[in-house]
């Protein structure tokens, strides 16, 4: 497998231009309904990228990415209800999740849990949160002026406003632009990490933790670092989701949430960062199509797709297509690309 996380400036630039272009052009060409749909797809693409950081880059198999997504949503909801302004709540959605991941990760990585147990612990964390959030219907469960409302969820949550101007709430179109810009920022964050010296150490830890350790790298700390970053980004996605939805309920912690994220990643291709973005957009579009005529169960289709990909296209769409094109280019392209072996 090629070192696909290495920075490829051409690809990065093209992707950035594409995202930026979509943020500028689409509001002028698409209707509000489609824009709203694309907004939530972009939120989920950010969530997929958060798992790209934790799992794709760091090799930390996190089965409970929804825990941080959901907590990010609830953190934002509670904070914005109390403050009546969104700037600090957005920061809190990110910082609180970084802190939660630091505590959980400290126990998992410094305790040298095996990869499998890390998966189990993160999965259990999201399930515990799901159950807990469901059991908070009693009015006693409130933080400041925000009641958690159990399985009914928290309705009518304030959206994002222009920083420190509570009166200037973003319109749906502005929210779309903001979400696309956030997607771009997170994508560039991923590329920056992967291209940095520390990113190389992260890749080394993922590929062979023993060798990394025998080079003197503290692999537990490396994994903890990447876990904190990935979780913080998931928290950010949760906050954007609540901004889109105006509502948050325990479903954000659900098992199907965590599973979906992994499916987007696997189908799109987890070795790249564009893959999970494409996977998130394409599969959500597919599911919403299927949802219209309700004869077909969307979950069955998703499960089937996952199996097909795992067996037939194990590396996912993006890496497979790219390597296919590269090898075609090598066959017919002008002069062979130099390959030392």
């Amino acid at each position: 497998m090629p070192q696909t996380f290495a920075p490829r400036h051409a690809g990065t630039l093209a992707t950035s231009v594409l995202i930026l272009g979509a943020a500028v052009v689409l509001p002028q060409t698409l209707g509000l309904f489609t824009l709203l749909q694309l907004t939530v797809y972009a939120v989920m693409a950010i969530l997929a990228l958060s798992l790209s950081i934790t799992w794709g880059l760091g090799g930390v198999l996190c089965f409970g990415q929804a825990a941080f997504f959901g907590l990010g949503g609830y953190t934002y909801a509670v904070a914005v209800t109390n403050f009546g302004e969104s700037t600090l709540p957005i920061l809190l959605a990110v910082l609180v999740q970084a802190l939660v991941a630091l505590c959980l990760g400290w126990f998992m990585f410094m305790g040298r849990l095996s990869d499998l147990y890390v998966g189990v612990v993160t999965l259990c964390t999201s399930l515990i949160l799901f159950n807990f959030a469901n059991s908070t219907s009693d009015p006693w469960y409130r933080i400041g002026s925000a009641a958690l409302n159990g399985f009914n969820g928290m309705p009518a949550i304030r959206g994002i406003n222009i920083p420190f101007l509570p009166g200037a709430l973003l319109s749906p179109v502005q929210s779309f632009v903001l979400t696309m810009l956030a997607l771009l920022a997170v994508y560039l964050l991923c590329k920056t990490i992967a291209g940095s010296s520390w990113g190389r150490v992260v890749a080394a830890t993922r590929q062979n933790p023993l060798r990394a350790e025998l080079m003197g790298y503290d692999t537990a700390r490396v994994k903890l670092g990447i876990f904190v970053i990935g979780s913080a980004v998931a928290g950010f996605a949760g906050c954007l989701f609540v901004n889109w939805n105006g509502f948050v309920s325990p479903d954000v912690f659900g098992l199907s949430m965590s599973a979906q994220i992994m499916i987007w990643m696997i189908v799109g291709g987890r070795e790249t960062f564009v893959g999970p973005i494409v996977g998130a957009f394409a599969l959500q579009a597919l599911v919403s199509r299927l949802g219209v005529g309700s004869e077909i169960n969307a979950n069955v289709v998703l499960g089937g797709l996952l199996m097909i990909f795992v067996v037939l296209v194990p590396r996912g769409i993006l890496p497979t297509v790219r390597d296919g094109l590269l090898s075609l280019g090598r066959k017919w392209g002008p002069g062979k690309t130099r390959e030392v072996n």
Binding site: V201, L214, D218
Partner: protein, 237 residues
């Protein structure tokens, strides 16, 4: 510089190490020999913190390092090439060596050291190749380069010549002799020709214990040692 005191490692009912008192001094090229299952690799793993000893102590340069983690021990100045290759298969040769040099020393040093080692180990041709796609002998050399990159005082090599051509073995022996001023070497090997080329002293392991230790020529010509290799060791042990 490296000492162990009554080192014992037990796997269930098997004593992989049954009380090893080992010592080597700075600047030495020291070889460990012994039949399969004698406990040589286990000894390396204990010294580098990959296995905690059942009892006994390990000290490096006078400080007790028993029970410390691998990364911690490595930072004290030990580098190890394991018996089974431990590399980053998707990474290039260049990046692998860079990773060995980068830790604790920064980018500028890592870049310079990588260039030096690519040259010194004649890996320039394959610098951009992925490690996983190289032939076995080359991979061994990449791993050795990545160990050297950390500039450890003490270098442990577990069967570095295994699977190498005669020319590669000669190259490796010359390299060790060239570097012996800067590092101490502890080398597990079966290849007697190689051992004769490099070793100052030789320690013979047998059934988890030290059978004999001494100057290279004396140990290698010892009749008891020859018998162990032919499977008659028990009579002399």
């Amino acid at each position: 510089m490296l000492n162990t005191e009554n080192l014992v490692v037990r796997f269930g009912g098997v004593f992989a190490l049954g009380g090893v008192d080992f010592a080597m001094t700075k600047g030495e090229v020291h070889c460990l020999v012994g039949p399969n299952g004698a406990g040589k690799s286990t000894f390396f793993k204990v010294v580098t913190g990959q296995i905690a000893p059942t009892s006994g102590r390990v000290s490096l340069g006078g400080s007790d390092i028993t029970g410390e983690g691998s990364a911690q021990i490595v930072r004290r100045g030990i580098g190890i090439k394991m018996q089974t290759p431990q590399l980053f298969d998707d990474m290039t040769v260049e990046d692998t060596i860079w990773l060995g040099a980068y830790r604790g020393r920064g980018k500028a040093h890592a870049r310079r050291r990588t260039a030096e080692l690519l040259d010194e180990l004649r890996l320039g041709e394959v610098a951009r190749a992925e490690v996983g796609k190289l032939a076995h002998g080359l991979r061994q050399r990449v791993e050795i380069a990545s160990v050297l990159a950390g500039d450890p005082e003490l270098i442990l090599l577990d069967e570095p010549a295994a699977g190498m051509s005669d020319a590669d073995v000669d190259f490796l022996a010359a390299l060790i002799l060239r570097l012996r001023g800067q590092h101490s070497f502890l080398v597990v090997e079966h290849d007697m020709r190689f051992i004769r080329m490099i070793a100052d002293r030789v320690t013979v392991f047998h059934n988890g214990k030290i059978f004999l230790e001494g100057r290279s020529d004396a140990v290698l010509s010892d009749q008891g040692v020859k018998d162990i290799y032919l499977g008659k060791g028990k009579a002399h042990a």
